[in-house]
Assembly symmetry: C2
Homo-oligomer: 123 residues x 2
DNA sequence: TATGCTAATGCAACTAAGTTGCATTTAAGT
DNA sequence: ACTTAAATGCAACTTAGTTGCATTAGCATA
């Protein structure tokens, strides 16, 4: 099982909470907040946040703030931009939009906000 | 005085709180949080947030979340991207970086995160 | 300039995401 | 199986932002 390996590779203890959390993040193709996840997990929110924080410091997970005051987490694969729709609040991973360059800066993350395709179509 | 006119143009009452708030946002060239502003204003935080919210719905002000869990506000001029530094947490207005295009989407706001010029230089 | 209506304000209580301290449990090496 | 440090659950806390309500202050009209 690759989830177990992911945890062992970082020299972290393989706990049920960690397996549960990575399982859910891996099975979704879009970023999730604690709110999105909380009914699917058995761990306490303190455990959720402590593990997410560890996963982030080990570069297994990355996250960003949306405009609903919540933080969204996803398994860190190759870097890509995200689109947050001001209409329907949906968050999309833009896997085909490479991160732009900006002279002198190192761009590590990009968030676009605006109207998504379906909100544009039905407007 | 143009601050007074800005408020009257939107058919809002010209109150001292509103003048104070727009005065401070106008005098700064970068986005500010309530935390940044609170010692410079005399109004209550409820009044701050209610007015900021009205200014946003009237398109006088725009805002975005940073990664410190705070919302940053600025006078809405021409649209431009923002850069948030993961090193020093500074927020820059990228007035010369036009908003990119993305097929099918309407991009209204862009936030880049990473390392700023000075953090890159001293690293 | 005084009067009256309504929107704006101050205050205090509340909400909710995320954090922290601490006692208990559990993974994993021996 | 035994040991030990790391992980967990729980409850209390922190803090940005919100809300209800009584009071105040713009602004229109006379
Ligand atoms: Mn993504
Ligand atoms: Mn700006
Ligand atoms: Zn949408
Ligand atoms: Zn920096």
């Amino acid at each position: 099982m690759q989830i177990k390996n992911m945890i062992e590779e970082k020299n972290l203890k393989v706990t049920t909470a960690r397996k549960e959390l990575l399982e859910i993040l891996s099975s979704e193709k879009k970023p999730l907040s604690f709110e999105d996840i909380k009914d699917k997990i058995s761990m306490d929110k303190a455990t959720f946040y402590r593990n997410i924080s560890k996963f982030e410091s080990e570069s297994m997970v990355n996250s960003f703030e949306s405009n609903d005051k919540k933080r969204y987490y996803e398994i860190q694969e190759f870097p890509h931009a995200h689109f947050i729709c001001n209409g329907c609040s949906n968050i999309e991973c833009l896997e085909n939009a490479p991160l732009p360059k900006l002279d002198g800066y190192t761009i590590m993350d990009v968030i676009y906000k605006g109207m998504c395709k379906s909100c544009n179509a039905t407007q």
